[in-house]
Symmetry: C2
Subunit: 196 residues, 2 copies
DNA sequence: GCTTGATCTGAACGCACGTTCAGATAAACA
DNA sequence: TGTTTATCTGAACGTGCGTTCAGATCAAGC
């Protein structure tokens, strides 16, 4: 028994990442062994090391990939000139992302502390950039007189905290659709920043 | 070398809980060993088992203790008849608790998944009770016509998410005092639920 | 059909884990 | 002062960890 028929690098590689993402989200990085990930992929633990240098690099790669995808996806969104429309776009975008990439969002909040310092700093920088995007929208809206918050920085944190919170209660197939959730949160977010 | 002079049960016990809380919050339950906790207390790992049956029980005890303290502290607060005042009380109470018991709040969100099923169910029930308190306030406020939210349940989740988010950025001795943070969040929370 | 190279197995490495326990120690009490 | 008892040590247990690697296997190119 050795290599299973029909298995290839371009299949196993992604499957390792998918399995790791799912298991890390469910049990936590430290609680998931390489053997467990390998078994989920249908492979021996040693085979993982054809694809990743070590466990830490696997975690970092997942978090980095997530943040890159998040920022790129935001860039690809339409960015209306009107600050309030841009804010609505951000809220809806963030909700959508949070619901569709629930596991990625989850581990990128939970597993930060399991990153080695250099890795942590990199992810933290990307996160700050993302938070900065929202803060800039709020500043523009403030300057345009469309909204009023006492502190744009804190307001950005508050909004992101509020929006990201959906993944603590949202379950697919539940009472509310993604669109309904987005509408509810946009209503509250809009009011919260005084754009009644 | 055996028992260190002057050490007693009523000192070691709490110190174990304090060390475990701090270490779990910083590195995560699965990443912290019993030997590490013991060394923090200045004791050998075996000595821990004079105070707790096992590691899981230690985690559960910390989370249960936190939830009990949270609910009891809320009961001890004044509960004005006016729903809007009660909402303000809740927001300020939650911010205060989140800032002062940062580590407890942190692990009671992060380490839920490391609880065995029966333990998880217990903590989850207490958490639901706490969320229910806020939802009831929102319903009362709605009935009194003082605020307007499309969905009290979701609004409760959104507010708690927003408020709890402070512990992702707040650092003691930073730019804002606890009182200033509370004021900022109360301003946004009040507007968010349409009590402009 | 042979060779090559990518892919995987299976066993092994040293290490750290949670937990147990017999024995040592010192504080408390007679 | 002698005895008791709560408290802690230090070593040990079986287990599973992340990682390495020599050798087996199979797909592809000639």
């Amino acid at each position: 028994m050795a290599r299973t028929a029909g298995s290839h690098s371009d299949i196993t590689g992604p499957r390792i990442r998918e399995a790791a993402l799912r298991l890390f989200a469910k049990h936590g990085y430290a609680a998931v062994s390489m053997r467990r990930i390998a078994s989920e992929v249908g492979v021996q633990a040693g085979a993982l090391y054809n694809y990743i240098p070590d466990k830490q690099a696997l975690l970092f790669s997942l978090l980095k990939g997530h943040m890159d995808e998040l920022l790129e996806a935001w860039e690809a969104e339409p960015h209306p000139a009107d600050p309030l429309a841009r804010l609505e776009g951000f809220v809806r975008f963030h909700i959508r992302f949070t619901l569709r990439r629930a596991e990625s969002i989850f581990i990128s909040y939970m597993e930060l502390r399991n990153l080695e310092p250099e890795n942590f700093a990199q992810i933290e920088a990307l996160r700050s950039r993302y938070e900065g995007l929202l803060e800039q929208i709020l500043r523009d809206g403030q300057a345009a007189g469309q909204l009023s918050v006492p502190d744009t920085r804190i307001a950005a944190f508050a909004l992101i905290g509020m929006l990201t919170g959906v993944n603590t209660w949202y379950r697919e197939g539940g009472r509310l659709s993604e669109e309904e959730v987005a509408a509810l949160y946009w209503d509250m977010a809009r009011k919260a920043v005084g754009a009644g």
